[in-house]
Structures are given as C-alpha cells and as structure tokens.
C-alpha cells in the first residue's frame, strides 16, 4: 500500500496537525513502510472470526444518572490557556 503526498496531507488535515513540505515527503515513505508491513495480516483467514470487542468478558455496570460531583467550575477551568468568568475563551468560530 503506497501512501502518496496528497494522502499524507489529507490525513494530516483530518488529524489537525500542520505539516511542512519536508515532513510530508518523509511521512510518505514512513507511513508507506508501516502500512506495507501491517498488510501481512492479509495472510490470515478471518472470514468466520468475530472481531474482539473486550479482552475480558464482563457486563457493564449501570449507575444512577445523577450529579456526583458538581460546583467545581474553578477546577475545570484552572488549566485553560484562556478563560473569562468560568468560560473557555476560544478563537472566533462563527463569522
């Protein structure tokens, strides 16, 4: 499986990571190498195999839908790069 430069740029956009031209070139080679290597899984016949969803079978526990921890706006916003009165301040989204 060969990944071309356009695909690298498309994935980087999807992942929201800015890449330079030099990085795009290098990644083309690295990602192709890794994806080629994982293709050896095609040798395995999995036609009648269920995908694994949990490593240990167990039933999920249910809990009451109630507020267990509240009134901690200070703690929630304490690490934000920019805040205003317990709001996260973000770049303009709607013109």
């Amino acid at each position: 499986m060969q990944v071309d430069e356009a695909t690298v740029r498309r994935i980087a956009r999807l992942a929201r990571i800015k890449i330079t031209d030099t990085e795009a070139k290098a990644l083309e080679k690295e990602l192709s190498g890794i994806l080629d290597w994982v293709r050896q899984l095609d040798e395995v016949d999995t036609a009648s195999v269920e995908p694994m969803t949990r490593v240990v079978a167990q039933k999920l526990k249910m809990r009451d839908d109630v507020v267990t921890e509240g009134d901690i706006a200070d703690a929630v916003t304490a690490n934000a790069p920019m805040t205003d009165d317990h709001y996260f301040v973000v770049p303009k989204i709607v013109e």
Binding site: V38, L41, V55
Partner: protein, 499 residues
C-alpha cells in the same frame, strides 16, 4: 547508618517496623540520591521533595501510634502518566504544558492510602509511545547499566533503560526509589524491567483502574509496578489493584494477597514453551537464557510442555493498527482549548493544527497519522476490523494453551539493552523491541519480566512469564523460583556519583 537506598521494599518495611530508622530518614536518603543522580540519569522529570517529606512525617506519626498501613513510609516514584492532584503531570509531552490535574489517579490514590511516599514524577516516552525513552519532551533517560568491554572495563557508551517506563526502570535499578509505578500498552513495563535487571508485572487488563492515567490505547493500557524483587512487586501490585466504579473496564473481583503466593513453589506446575517465540535471528545468549529458565523450573518440580501459539507473528502488525487507531482517538482531546499548550493561528482550525504540530513530538505525530489513516473512510474494515479479528485469534491461541499448561515462559526481549540512537532511524526496528511482549496486551493477559541473567557485555536480560486471566499469583510464585535460581542483578558501579 548503612546506605538505606540499597534496601529492597520488603527490607525497608521491616526496618521501619523495627524502628531501625524513620520514614523521614529513609525518604531523605532517596532525595539525596536523586539530587546526585538526576543531572546524569534524568530519571525524574519532577522531584517533589517537600511533598515527600510531608508524607514521610505523617507516616512516622502513624508508625509511632502503631497504625502503620501496608506501605507505610515507603518511598516510590510515580510515572508522569499518572495524574497527581495539584502536581504537574505532562505524559512527558509539550502539549500538556504545565497541566496540574485537579484529581489523583486511582492507582496513585490507592498507593498513598496504603502509606507510600511519593518522591517525584518519573520520565517516560512521550504519551508512553516508545521502547527506549528517547521520545520524551524532557530528554532521554540514561540507564544506570553500562556495557563491559573485552578488557573487563565498563564502557562510557550511554545505554537506553527501555521504554516507555524508562524513568521507572532506571530509578529502581539506580536505587533512587524502592519501587515505581509504570504502565504497559505493548511491553512498556516488561521491556524496561528486562533491560535494567528489575522486576516488572503488567497485570490482567482490568486489574488496575485506568482512571487518571493519561490514555494511549484504552483497550491495551494497564498499570503495574517496577520493583527490585518479586516480593516487592507483589507488595506494590496488591496496593495498586482495585475495582473502581470510575473505570468501567476495571474488574470487580477481590485482589489476592500476592505476597502470600511467593514461596509456594512450582511443584507440579505445567510450564508451556511456545515454539513460535524461537524467532529467526534470536541471539545465542537469549536462547541460553531461555534454556536456563526451563532448567530452573524443571529442577524445582515443574513439568515443561511444548506448545504452539500459531498467530504470534501477527500480534505486532495487528498491534500497530489497534494502538495507533486508539491513540488517534484518545489524543484528539488535545486541542489547545481547555488545558495545555495553545499556539494561536489565523482561525480555529489553524490554531488546532499549529498547536498539535508544536505540542506533539515526531513519534506521537506519526502514530496519530497512522491511526487517522486506518480509521478513515473506506479503510476501517481493511485495517482496524481486520486487526481486531486477528486479536480474537491471538486470544484463542492462548485459550487453547491453557488447557495444557498453567503458565508460559518466554524471553522478554529479543536482545539486550542498546545504545542511544541505535534504533531511532527506523521506526520498524524500534517496534520489534515489543515482539515478545505485545501478544500479552492483545489478549489482555498478565505478563511479568524477571531478571534472569547477564549478556556477554554484562547487561541484564529478562525472562517473561505469561499467565491466565487474573492468575497473577501463579506468576509471582513462578517468578520467585526464577529469582531464587538466577539471583539478583545490581548495577556494577554507581558511576554517576561524585567522590
């Protein structure tokens, strides 16, 4: 007073009980060892001396009052992947910047509730992605071990301590803490333990809560200890493990007293030796190590059985689909809005892209991109679904083996510790470090690395034990037999000490 830092955790516990020394004296001994070693070894990214002394003083009060808890006054290191309330936690990534969690990880809280003292936060590969601790934003950790040349002299070449829990393994091996927390997604506890002559156990998936541990690949991540001895690892795991309503994958089952399993021996135990682990190009010394392990267990009364785990060779490629896919989802949260680094751009998307380009290191970016690719429209079935089906087959191999054997014995790593830069050029060469450990994560099983010998260059080698789900006790009793036969392996010289 003799050097308190050389004690094992069990010996230190005895010393505190007998009042041979105080928790504060013990803590101060480690803090001064860290002060000397850290500029050279870089094992701690944030020593927390004041916090440690306050905890030690509290322990001394409880000891004096006869109210000592199981790990009372015992100083340990905490991998920087574990959130610590009010104390900087970074996963050794620039993207978390100066993040101070408003909460403590469940595993950490369990340890402090058991009386343990935190000496500081330990270095690791960025977001636990790496096998050499060379991807940390705080720089590499240097192994306290050095190769011995043909002339018998120790070489000055810097060796890696393994990864991703390289700060944990180096700190324990260098006597900078009694034991350390660690995490293991594909081998990150067992491989660094093997490369530093320490004991490391990744328990069954679900044994320890993942709450408050920075996530890498959620279906594979599991916490465990790195310690000096098998007994010390048992003490640590007992305290770390618990059911936690805050982690829906943590298992509601009683945690056994692992220390009690030590000394039970292996008489009549059925030990499996999987033929698929005799990989091409495996070094002679690793083969000899494996044969030694087989002999020790046989001599102690175990029976040895050849087994087959036919899908072993597909575990690593399947892992490098599953782990990056889950990593790309988990790391999507680092958007520069609510915590961590923000690099302002021309608009919102530009801000996201610049923040994530500046905040994530090269290996993390590579894995996010691979994960994004395999999960992108049109590729999901061919990669992620295929890998999850292969995972079912890997687990089935083990399920069939458990009909014939009680525990599986393999080497932990395909080769001894390597030098800086030796494997950084080619991501695939580094990924092969996990070839023997990754199957265990894919199947959710418990796995343990025990120091078992030295390479021709005098560096440590480890054997791996793999157990049935939630049967960590069998790993502890088997590991103790290996430790008794092989002996302990200490660094030959504390070359980083001045004077």
């Amino acid at each position: 007073m003799s050097d308190l830092t050389k004690l094992t955790m069990a010996e230190a516990r005895d010393g505190l009980r007998k009042k041979a020394f105080t928790a504060l004296e013990l803590t101060d001994a480690f803090l001064s060892a860290i002060e000397q070693a850290n500029p050279v070894l870089n094992a701690f990214v944030l020593p927390t001396p004041e916090h440690a002394r306050a905890q030690a003083k509290e322990s001394d009060k409880l000891i004096a009052a006869g109210k000592a808890r199981p790990l009372e006054g015992l100083p340990i290191g905490n991998k920087d992947l574990f959130c610590t309330k009010g104390i900087r936690t970074t996963a050794c990534s620039k993207i978390l910047d100066d993040f101070k969690p408003p909460y403590e990880s469940t595993v950490g809280q369990n340890l402090w509730d058991a009386g343990a003292v935190m000496l500081g936060k330990l270095n690791n590969d960025e977001f636990a992605m790496g096998s050499s601790n060379e991807t940390s934003a705080f720089g590499s950790v240097v192994s306290p071990w050095r190769r011995r040349g043909a002339d018998g002299k120790l070489s000055a070449d810097k060796l890696v301590p393994g990864g991703s829990s390289g700060g944990s393994s180096a700190a324990v091996a260098a006597d900078l803490c009694l034991a350390a927390t660690a995490t293991d997604t594909g081998g990150s506890i067992r491989q660094p333990a093997a490369l530093t002559g320490t004991v490391g156990i990744k328990p069954t998936y679900g044994r320890c809560s993942r709450w408050g541990i920075v996530a890498f690949a959620s279906s594979l991540d599991q916490a465990g200890p790195i310690a000096k001895t098998v007994r010390d690892a048992a003490m640590m795991l007992k305290a770390m493990a618990s059911h936690d309503p805050k982690d829906s994958t943590s298992v509601d089952a009683p945690v056994p007293d692992y220390e009690a399993a030590i000394g039970l021996g292996v008489k009549g135990l059925r030990v499996g030796v999987p033929r698929e682990y005799r990989v091409e190009g495996m070094s002679k010394e690793i083969e000899k190590l494996w044969d030694d392990g087989i002999r020790w267990l046989k001599d102690a009364g175990a029976t040895i059985h050849d087994i087959t785990l036919p899908h072993t060779k597909y575990a690593l490629p399947a892992y490098y689909i599953v782990a990056p896919a889950e990593c790309s989802s988990n790391l999507a949260r680092y958007d520069g809005m609510r915590y961590g680094l923000r690099v302002n751009g021309e608009n919102l998307i530009d801000t996201y892209e610049k923040t994530r380009a500046a905040g994530f290191g090269k290996e993390v970016r590579r894995r996010i991109l691979i994960g994004t690719y395999v999960l992108s429209a049109g590729y999901y079935d061919a990669y992620y679904l295929k890998a999850q089906k292969v995972r079912t087959l890997i687990k089935r191999d083990f399920d069939e083996a458990w009909g014939k054997v009680d525990v599986v014995l393999t080497p932990t790593t395909p080769s001894p510790a390597f030098a800086f830069g030796e494997k950084t050029g080619d991501p695939l060469a580094m990924y092969l470090e996990d070839i023997f450990t990754v199957t265990v994560n894919m199947a959710g099983l418990p796995g343990m690395s025990v120091p078992s010998g030295l390479s021709s260059q005098g560096t440590p080698l480890g054997l791996q034990l793999i157990g049935k789900p939630f049967d960590e006790e069998t790993l502890f009793r088997t590991a103790q037999v290996i430790e008794d036969a092989a002996g302990r392996f200490r660094v030959p010289a504390k070359w980083w000490m001045k004077g």
